[in-house]
């Protein structure tokens, strides 16, 4: 075998000799390449190229700490950014976000950039939605937003029971280094999530909802984010209160219990705990337009497993409006409508129409539909 070092000492006198030199030293080149390959393989065996995420799941306390950090992040600082929601079907929606906080006051403004124009303002748990196309301003109070610190405590345990939380490979979102946690469901009744949070501030930057096969159903993320922008709370509050000239609508709802309205589940759907129940007056707009028409009353029963929520709307069956049962998918939100069966049980369940909505698989919503039972009247 020729010596290795002549490779460097040989001088080529003519252009053709360069080629000749290369061809003559195929043996040395071959040896070098094989050596490189062997070293690379050996290196790969000895030490992985990228740091691998831990294989064991986060404990309940670790999950609790992580969630607490996520919530604290948005309460501490102002930010402005662009938020983009995209679904597997190809739909894309984006909005401009302003967030300001002062002590306990949290104010947010969301201006949609796609679709029909919409401005949503939030001050703690009060939300006002301006719809310029109809000149309507909807005001409502969202309990789930205000109740958080206490609610969170009860959710931690549920989440660890139902999902396995593991750190995943980190990434970058909107220019910020993010830490990733993957929440894998332990059964097929719910979706999985991947959450990116800013390594420094813990603000949630991106959330992916994954279906039961692990495919991404929906992604909601900041495409642009600027911290500590000078957003004035008082200005946002002023914009929020500017409802003159707008038709103000407020949903009519009464907090109650499912039992009071005469409904129960034959057996609970695993992991989903009832959270709230309301009686709503639906079709208020139609009632106002056609004088004399009474709004319909419907039960709105809310369940949650800590990360996903399900709403069951039960209203009296109306053959004019309610036809075939159906299904709908909008990103991660799935909807199932069906006429409650139960003729054989003989307690008149067949007179009701169920609309089940939730960020859960269709099968889960159908399970709710099968287990919903009308309580026998107690009187």
């Amino acid at each position: 075998m020729a010596r290795l070092w002549p490779l460097v000492r040989v001088r080529a006198a003519t252009p053709m000799a360069h080629v000749a030199l290369f061809e003559r030293h195929w043996r040395q080149m071959t040896m070098l390449l094989m050596l490189a390959a062997a070293l690379n393989v050996a290196a790969a065996q000895v030490a992985p190229a990228l740091p691998k995420p831990e294989d064991k799941a986060m404990s309940e306390s670790e999950v609790a700490d992580w969630l607490k950090r996520l919530h604290g992040a948005s309460r501490d600082r102002n930010y402005v950014g662009t938020f983009v929601v995209s679904s597997a079907s190809g739909a894309l929606a984006s909005a401009r976000i302003w967030h300001a906080c002062e002590g306990e006051q949290q104010v947010e403004r969301v201006e949609t950039l796609t679709g029909a124009p919409r401005s949503v303002f939030r001050h703690n748990d009060r939300v006002v939605t301006f719809l310029p196309d109809q000149k309507v301003a909807r005001t409502e109070r969202r309990e789930s937003l205000g109740a958080f610190p206490g609610l969170l405590k009860s959710l931690d345990a549920t989440i660890t029971d139902l999902y396995s939380a593991k750190p995943a490979d980190s990434g970058r979102v909107a220019g910020f280094d993010a830490q990733v946690v993957q929440l894998t469901p332990k059964d097929k009744l719910r979706f999985g999530y991947r959450v990116w949070s800013d390594r420094q501030t813990s603000l949630v930057l991106k959330v992916q909802t994954l279906d039961t096969d692990g495919h991404v159903l929906e992604q909601a993320a900041f495409s642009e984010l600027h911290y500590d922008e000078p957003v004035r709370i008082d200005q946002l509050e002023k914009m929020m209160a500017a409802t003159d000239g707008w038709k103000v609508e407020t949903p009519v709802m009464v907090k109650t219990t499912a039992q009071a309205l005469g409904w129960t589940l034959s057996s609970p759907v695993a992991g989903f705990n009832p959270v709230n129940c309301y009686q709503r007056a639906l079709g208020g707009q139609a009632a106002a337009d056609h004088a004399g028409a009474a709004p319909d009353n419907a039960m709105h029963w809310v369940f949650s497993d800590g990360l996903a929520s399900v709403s069951l709307f039960v209203e009296p069956f109306d053959s004019a409006r309610h036809g075939q049962p159906g299904q709908m998918v909008m990103g991660a939100t799935h909807t199932v409508t069906l006429r409650l069966s139960g003729g054989e049980r003989g307690n008149g369940e067949g007179n009701w129409w169920l609309t089940a909505v939730g960020e859960v698989p269709i099968a889960t919503l159908q399970l709710f539909g099968e287990r919903l039972r009308r309580l026998a009247p107690t009187k």
Partner: protein, 243 residues
């Protein structure tokens, strides 16, 4: 020298005109042949030939392009070649002989198979087997690098900086995710998210009541550890309803 043309004129002094004409390229046919043979045979004619070339270079370029005539150089090279060639031929012949006598089965000398006319291959001619081995080694090296990269896993990448809202989903996501999204997209109709889905014979009609219910779900049903801020922002942004 017995070339009559060149020996005319003064005794012992060859005539330079044919040489000059030779350098100028004016000679033809047998006169040309004679002049060339004179240069070959006579050192004086050859010296004259070199001188004329030198004069021409100086006149044209102002300097001499090449070295002075060196009769010895050509002779030396010829001598070396003659010395070398028999040695090379001897080695080739021995190599040809050895396999025949020792009967080494896998020794292959290309020249020996051609028979008597043993011509050694030039030292810098390519040997195909090494090209093959080198190509294979390259592939192995590339494969090893690629394998270790794949083995360590593709990390789910974050969004690119400054991604505009109008970009398609594939651009926003990491490649693995965008492929996953494309797969699940096949189970949903492409286009707006607000389309009804046909499940068997069922089709859901979008009506204002449904919109109202979806809004109610958004309002009161967002009980999730992720609802602040991501869930709220998602609901506020996602135009799934056409109100």
């Amino acid at each position: 020298m017995n070339n009559p043309h060149l020996n005319d004129g003064a005794a012992g002094e060859p005539r330079m005109e044919p040489i000059s004409a030779l350098v100028d390229g004016q000679l033809r046919v047998d006169v040309f042949a004679n002049a060339v043979s004179a240069c070959v045979e006579g050192s004086d004619a050859r010296a004259a030939w070199h001188t004329y070339h030198l004069i021409g270079d100086v006149l044209r370029f102002g300097e001499s392009a090449g070295s002075a005539s060196d009769d010895g150089f050509a002779a030396r090279v010829a001598k070396r070649l003659a010395e070398e060639a028999p040695a090379v031929r001897h080695a080739a012949v021995e190599a040809a002989v050895t396999p025949a006598t020792e009967n080494v089965a896998n020794y292959h000398h290309p020249a020996s198979e051609s028979g008597q006319n043993v011509r050694e291959e030039a030292a810098n001619s390519p040997v195909f087997r090494w090209k093959l081995v080198a190509g294979l080694a390259t592939m192995v090296a590339v494969g090893a690098v690629g394998w270790s990269t794949l083995g360590s896993g593709l990390s789910p990448a974050g969004m690119p900086v400054g991604a505009k809202p109008g970009q398609s989903l594939a651009a926003l996501d990491s490649r693995a995710d965008s492929q996953a999204l494309k797969r699940s997209a096949s189970s949903e109709p492409a286009g707006s998210a607000a389309l009804s889905v046909q499940a068997g014979s069922r089709q859901m009609i979008r009506d204002p009541r449904l919109d109202e219910l979806l809004a109610a779900h958004e309002q009161a049903g967002g009980v999730s550890a992720l609802s602040m801020p991501a869930g709220f922002l998602r609901n506020a942004t996602f135009e799934g309803r056409g109100r």
